[in-house]
């Protein structure tokens, strides 16, 4: 097996063994009552879930956008060798991918506006809904970033063959970005509702 596969399988094995061991110990020593999900969720402060929502939103949206940019970028470079005219026009695809990252920043601002006095220390509904908002936007944006990237790569290579195809494929990219916008709208709706 390759080194990386070995590492991942080793880590996975270690993780599940630990979990299994702890679970068996709890059962044997009749300490099962300690494994209490509801206690955990109600005893911790809502900020413990708000913050993960926040950082997931901003970081993974950038990951999705970066993923899309590298997919498009390598195809533009390859296609640009024999058809140099595509170089500048196809930067538009890259800008579309980057716009997806901007959605992530847009999401970060409402999160930032949340302060302890407004949220109320015991308002769990608020906390979890903000986490949910973060998750929503994360899934939407990272997949949109990748989608726009893949379509952009196809657009670059098609443009290299036949210049009239570029604008038509760009329309597909625009629709892809629109889907990401849906995710952002839903997430923004979730934030003030808390």
């Amino acid at each position: 097996m390759t080194g990386l596969a070995l590492l991942y399988s080793g880590l996975g094995l270690a993780f599940w063994t630990t979990l299994l061991g702890v679970g068996i110990c709890y059962t044997i020593f009749d300490l099962g009552f300690r494994f209490d999900v509801a206690w955990f969720l109600t005893e911790t402060s809502p900020y413990h879930v708000v913050q993960p929502g926040h950082w997931l939103a901003i970081s993974l949206s950038v990951v999705g956008a970066a993923w899309g940019i590298y997919i498009t970028g390598s195809s533009i470079i390859g296609g640009g060798v024999k058809a140099p005219r595509i170089k500048t026009k196809n930067l538009v695809s890259i800008i579309f991918c980057e716009a997806v990252a901007i959605y992530g920043i847009i999401m970060a601002i409402p999160f930032n506006g949340v302060t302890p006095e407004e949220i109320g220390a015991r308002n769990y509904h608020a906390g979890f809904s903000m986490f949910g908002a973060g998750l929503t936007v994360v899934y939407a944006i990272s997949s949109v970033g990748v989608c726009v990237g893949i379509v952009g790569s196809g657009a670059a290579l098609a443009d290299a063959q036949n210049a009239s195809l570029f604008v038509k494929i760009l329309i597909v990219e625009i629709f892809g970005s629109a889907i990401g916008l849906f995710g952002v709208i839903v997430a923004i709706l979730q934030v003030p509702a808390s």
Binding site: Y70, G73, S75, I77, G78, V81, K82, S153, L157, A160
Partner: protein
């Protein structure tokens, strides 16, 4: 993750895929071939080729232009492009490109052995070898006199070592045994290549599968037809067929028992695409031969490879299409230089 090649293909191979598609745009179209066919001399041909992607590849040629010079220069251009791909490739594309060269290596080894058997000097044989299949120990092949010595001394260091397992049973090198050795090597190579593509999975396997299956079946048909009238027994013949094609196993068994061309054609009729290939073939001198029909089908499959993105099949298809283009240009050049223009339009247009 197999099946999701779009996500991570471009990390290592995005640039090369874009580049090979750029090269593919430079492959001559039917309009170019019509222009070339209207040339009166080889100098005219050279002029027309200057306007295409070939540019000034013949510019440094002194002395009168011959067809063999043109052939050599065409191959050199393909070689340069291929070496660029190979040098910039990561695994697994590097192994894939190596597999592409092995078929040319096999042809070169067999050419050198046959030449040695007929006492030809190595200097005469070396230029006839296909440049894509060159390997370091090529000159040393001529000193061997039987396959074991050939293997132990020379070929064990080349990538062809793995394909020699079945051939060491031959004791001498004579005319018949060399052909058998060539076919066994090729069979072992094709099956290894097929397995490699299947292991890659995803779009690569999907695209390469019909191409390699057709290659295997085409070899089976050609071996059968060429073995009529020779002393090759039916069992021996069956051992030479590659098993990674559509004909395996029933079709190959039927082919092994065939005795003439009509029976072969009847076997082909069980399979829809091969029926279509055999139907276009005529036996007169003006009509298409079976080889031409096979080349045409191969071109069709290779062109289809460019319809998908994010797979390795585009590299294989590009090499094969460029090879077909070389054959076309050389055919047209021969017709022009021999002033025998009746069959000049028998090239196979690609795009």
């Amino acid at each position: 993750m197999p099946g999701y090649s779009e996500f991570y293909f471009n990390v290592d191979h995005g640039y090369l895929e874009g580049l090979v598609r750029g090269f593919k745009a430079g492959i001559l179209t039917s309009a170019d071939y019509v222009n070339l066919a209207q040339c009166e001399t080889l100098e005219d041909l050279k002029l027309h080729l200057q306007t295409t992607d070939y540019g000034n590849f013949l510019a440094n040629e002194t002395g009168p232009l011959t067809v063999s010079t043109i052939d050599e220069k065409l191959k050199t251009k393909l070689l340069t492009e291929f070496h660029y791909f190979r040098n910039h490739a990561f695994e697994p594309l590097a192994t894939f490109l190596n597999f592409v060269t092995y078929s040319y290596m096999i042809d070169n080894v067999i050419l050198l052995i046959t030449g040695t058997l007929h006492q030809r000097p190595i200097a005469e044989l070396a230029p006839k070898c296909h440049p894509l299949g060159s390997f370091e120990q090529m000159e040393a092949v001529s000193i061997a006199s039987n396959p074991t010595e050939l293997f132990n001394a020379i070929l064990v260091d080349t990538p062809l070592a793995a394909f020699f397992q079945d051939c060491l049973s031959e004791n001498d090198l004579d005319e018949m045994n060399i052909e058998i050795m060539r076919n066994k090597l090729y069979k072992s190579y094709l099956e290894a290549f097929y397995k490699f593509c299947e292991k890659q999975g995803g779009t690569t396997a999907e695209i390469m599968r019909p191409i390699l299956e057709f290659e295997a079946d085409r070899r089976a048909f050609i071996i059968t037809i060429n073995s009529f009238g020779t002393e090759l027994s039916k069992d021996d013949r069956e051992k030479l067929y590659p098993t990674c094609g559509k004909l395996y196993p029933e079709g190959l068994h039927l082919l092994a028992n065939a005795d003439d061309y009509e029976q072969v054609k009847r076997v082909a009729e069980y399979y829809a695409d091969y029926k279509a290939v055999f139907e276009g073939v005529g036996s007169g001198t003006g009509e298409k031969t079976l080889e031409d029909a096979f080349f045409e089908h191969e071109v069709k499959l290779n062109v289809l490879a460019f319809n998908n993105q994010f797979h390795f099949g585009v590299f294989y298809a590009y090499v094969k299409l460029k090879e077909q283009e070389c054959r076309n240009i050389v055919w047209i050049a021969e017709c022009i230089s021999q002033r025998h223009r009746t069959k000049i339009n028998n090239y196979i247009p690609i795009f």
